[in-house]
Symmetry: C3
């Protein structure tokens, strides 16, 4: 490179997210190993800053403000662990909705719901008015996403013909790329991108979905909306409401957009007769938005790695082997060329790991670039029995936490120093931690696992205790004076805990050296 | 290039907007030509994605949320074709305003108005609190824009002296760059940039203006405001209100900012006597905001191409020849160096063209980079007799449609599958299509021409039928199961229509092979 | 560079902000010097535009709208010069708060307050829900900022050990980077970044703080919040409210976040006994948020330049010499590697200078890149006796003006041409000038000095009179016709004032050739 001023942007394919660093447990805090880690942290910090500086140069001239707030949107005195308040039963399963009008959800500007698809159930194609992040709690399946700018011809490229088993006409089987997902995956869907989902496994497919309604990509209001391209979902919804006639305000609304068009127009734009056009409206369809495909869905998909050359891939062990009997090939995650899927549940992928306490994995715009477009990120936490996630605050995002297993005590504190939440959060419950509110998690006897959605594509946390905490950053004399304690006490406050984020609990007994979740 | 990691950004000067591809009509869907096009689409998709990925890397660390919504802003059950509700008569013409408090305009966060300038009419210099896009429906004229950071000395550079015919003092005639526009041009004005407009043609100059009040560049509230640097526009406005004394809420407000300053202060800051300073306030001026320049406006402007070397430019034919008797030279569009003008009406510029049905042209931040700063884009559509623009939804923007000629039936459907609009839209009417709402247009016997302003600098649409539609992207088996139809019916739904966006209508008779609008 | 398309980004370390150019006073407007300046301006304009264009290319695909406004947020008929409405007394000083519910502050979306720290006073560590800009009106001090991603180990790098005088244990004295500030500095603190401040000087430390609550970095509502990591600030606040029991709406709220956590939990996460844990909550601490460190704060800090090699730095003169007896070394301003501090008060740093009238200095994202992240900028103005800052409007930001010395008459005009403010603004008062509103300042007999915070990281102004004004950009014929004056009068309006931004006043007597403030 002759010209030193040419901007370089070297981002590792999987850098560790900036505020959090690899944790290696060591009892001697003066070991050379630790010093190496400090150096590493220092290098990371420099790298991330130089990237930041570069960014700043690129952003300087945008007029960026302009929005004003309604007073009181986040005047939260009390947070609750929430369960779904509404459910819609369909042929192929059930969808459960949290009430997005709760104070916490209004403050965070998000809505959350959960789909349970039976085996061979298909969620009809739909798009939403805001970006969506889905976490696969259980099961496996396919998804198809039609992103604007990706013509349907994408799938027909290259080798697709050779997999059209049992069909004679070439164009018949052309469709867009299909992705496959399994337990622990997050799937990111941009606003306005139509998509469908199919459960191809033997067990119920359980998916938790966050929709970020105040995202900049949504220019409508804060209410979640789904636009279905098929089916008669609204009829089902009305059933659930016991004939109240009109959709209640504050409920996630959806319907089949073809219903609103005139039959003659549909016949003409599809070049079909009116009888077929009428079918697009699914007028008398009672199956709802989740339907059963009796003989199983027939779609074209490439062979998975291993399958192609007649051998099995050995990279994954255990459960991964049951994942359709095959493993990921790095292709099924693309739409056009964007990767929209990432597995967060593999223990080997942990960003922070403490063999006695648990692990913490994040995915953000550096690990999954489409999240930069969605302005969202996700983290997955696993705490072993009695372990603690240190008190911390999220600098630049709200966190929406869904517990996938076990339970945890959580304490959430606001700017007045009041505990707005202090209680147990169980599997299947949701807790919203507003931006900057301080929070601590303490796992119960069964440990706790959760997924947390953050409303920033690079959510950053600051911890209050531990090796990278705010208190560690303070001079001992500031601590001693602030809390009116001796310098010795101040030193203990600063240095007694050497872990970073995940602390072992009272009993100091983890579940073993190797995480097995 | 030795270093493969150096970011490249190769953007064609006029790439076709991403979701839409050149349409070449062909009856045989298996032709090599089509395959070439598919390959082309595929390449385009890859290119746009690599640009996207690059973008994502640059955006990852911004805290971007924070705004909350008032519930119900876009709770739209009914959309109407709107006409102006208020008009302000002035010496040189009339301005007509749509009521920006209508639900649709509040939802889209925009206001719209239309100026009619008589020949030799000058719109006095003014700036607005939000970015503005103007479409020249009819006529020709000059505009001058004073963008911050562009000193007035810009115009005096290089050759300007040699064109000061008939004037002796050098500095006297220095002024900022002047641009020339004609029918079919869009002109983009950033928020806060003062500008003036002059009709130098023989016919009425008809300009439709969109002001994007919820744009991030506007930090005031959602009400449109104009700050005039001269004239007495408010007086006129009061006349129109039949003496109601006080400006009605919800009306586009404007006045001469010099009126608010003290005369002594003005005299001092301009270094003139108080009598001249008083003239800045135009206290007794009854001409309004559009004035007539009796002898025609005398300004310095460079020779146009062709004129300079004593020959006419042949690039343009027909109407273009009448464009001041000269043609564009690529210079008159700059402010400092930014291009703010683009012609959308030339048939040869079409992005999508179907000789039997019509054409569609877009201008976005890739074709006119200042739109990236304004976060707006524009499209121009022409449908021949009975032609159809396929049902589609705009993924990331509201569309504000102004019909410039003919009429069209439009159907707009919301997320509940309800038709919120189904009616005729005529020349001079405005319809707002909210983000994600599905819409279909069917031209009448006279065809239909329109301009649509989109509230995103790279508005993307997804179609519901045709060759690049969402349905084409679905596996046949998904379609068959979703609509409970046979595979053969599903194939017909997918493949019967080969066009992309603009479909020929029932009679299948376009206006001829060559578009003549 | 073989490949001409590789993007270059050459930004001078300290380019002059784009809308404003170096002013060199000269009486002959035809001098070669002036022509050189014009050329320079022209080059600058081109440079900034090419940077802009580059930016635009990088921003094209973001969905950026989505926020709607409450009508009437900026319906301002009357602006007032504001003084603090609330004060909180603490052991180490007092904090005074302006009422952020005033119309002007609601419109601008900011809150403002002022701290007065006595010598040896420490402001306890805290973080805010929005970015903060502080201007040091008087005094000197240290600050420590804990930015997320900067581990506490940063300070321990390199030479820190050698400065641990009088301490034996290595880790004991490790803390994060400390910066030093003095009169005229602005300090930028990102949202959510914890920080503390200490007055190490002999006089009162007077700091004016702007908090930008509608900044995109704040996802909570528009109310300012401070989260303290120590102390018992709320108790103090209650005292001030005369036992009203509950915090009044609209008041800047804060408390110690440790108070909300359970003692056992704190003991465990800090690995200390419950007695020490209880101290974190400062339950019975009556000192408030500003405490006195009796023996002076003991912290580790590097030697300043000059000090290190046993000599004094000569770069600064006068007041700078009193700055802790040493001078800046370019290191104390970093957090990790980001510079967060910049001095605005040095006369030699002026961006615009008129020896007869005053000077104007700006700091924006080009001079201090972190401002691009905060989306804020600052300017410092000094007007000599009777001098005038020409009428102008800020294109893309609100301006929040705090007068630090003297007084000035200000006139502020809205879009209807009404003077919403016409009065004197004195030392210690705050005036908000909304975006696009026209404003003129005229210093009194004592001159006037102020600092203005702008809600855009690259605030741009357009002037109404003077050498780079909008009127200079207009053709003489437009001026003559607009104001119904002769061409000779129009020429006088355009050319009579040759200054740029800072005009000498009636008496035309400045305070001397060399600014001495």
């Amino acid at each position: 490179m002759q010209n030193g001023k040419t901007p370089h942007l070297r981002v590792n394919p999987k850098p560790h997210s900036s505020p959090i660093y690899i944790y290696i447990y060591t009892n001697t805090s003066h070991s050379p190993l630790l010093i190496t880690i400090y150096t590493y942290i220092f290098t990371m910090a420099k790298l991330s800053l130089s990237v930041l500086t570069f960014l700043l140069l690129f952003s300087f001239s945008f007029a960026v403000k302009g929005e004003t707030w309604q007073q009181g949107e986040c005047q939260i005195d009390r947070i609750n662990a929430q369960e779904p308040s509404n459910r819609i039963q369909a042929e192929g399963g059930v969808s459960e909705f949290w009430d997005f009008n709760n104070d916490e959800f209004r403050c965070a500007g998000v809505s959350i719901h959960r789909h349970r698809l039976q085996p061979r159930a298909l969620m009809l194609p739909a798009y939403h008015n805001a970006p969506v992040l889905a976490y696969i709690v259980q099961g496996t399946g396919y998804h198809g996403v039609m992103v604007s700018g990706c013509p349907e011809t994408f799938e027909s490229s290259q080798q697709s013909e050779q997999f059209q088993e049992g069909r004679s006409r070439k164009f018949l089987d052309r469709h867009q790329k299909i992705g496959q997902f399994r337990r622990g995956d997050i799937v990111a869907i941009p606003a306005g991108a139509a998509h469908w989902v199919y459960n191809n496994g033997d067990q119920e497919l359980l998916v938790v979905v966050l929709q970020d309604n105040t995202n900049n990509a949504n220019q409508l209001d804060q209410n979640p909306r789904s636009f279905f391209l098929a089916g008669n979902p609204q009829r089902e919804q009305e059933q659930q409401q016991f004939g109240h006639g009109r959709i209640r305000r504050g409920q996630h609304e959806f319907g089949n957009v073809f219903k609103g068009f005139d039959i003659q127009t549909l016949a003409e734009v599809f070049g079909v007769d009116e009888e077929t056009a009428r079918k697009l409206q699914n007028e008398n369809d009672e199956r709802g938005h989740l339907i059963i495909v009796e003989r199983g869905l027939q779609v074209i998909k490439p062979p998975l790695r291993g399958e192609e050359y007649g051998r099995r891939e050995e990279e994954y062990g255990g459960e991964e082997e049951r994942y359709m009997g095959r493993s990921a090939n790095g292709l099924e995650e693309t739409i056009c060329t964007a990767k929209i899927r990432e597995n967060l549940d593999k223990p080997s992928r942990a960003d922070i790991y403490n063999p006695r306490a648990g692990r913490f994995s994040t995915v953000n715009s550096l690990t999954l670039p489409i999240l930069g477009f969605l302005r969202l990120s996700v983290a997955r936490g696993v705490l072993y029995k009695n372990a603690i996630m240190t008190p911390h605050w999220c600098v630049n995002a709200h966190s929406i936490i869904y517990v996938t297993k076990g339970e945890s005590r959580m304490q959430i504190v606001n700017h007045r120093g009041q505990a707005v939440f202090d209680g147990q959060v169980r599997e299947g419950q949701v807790v919203v931690v507003p931006q900057n509110f301080a929070v601590v998690k303490q796992a119960g006897e069964q440990g706790c696992e959760w997924v947390e959605f953050n409303t920033n594509d690079n959510a950053m946390i600051n911890t209050l205790s531990g090796r990278t905490s705010a208190l560690r950053g303070l001079p001992v004399d500031v601590i001693a004076n602030a809390y009116q304690i001796s310098r010795e006490e101040a030193e203990r406050l600063k240095y007694n805990r050497e872990e970073t984020l995940i602390f072992s609990g009272r009993s100091r007994s983890g579940r073993g050296e190797v995480a097995s979740t």
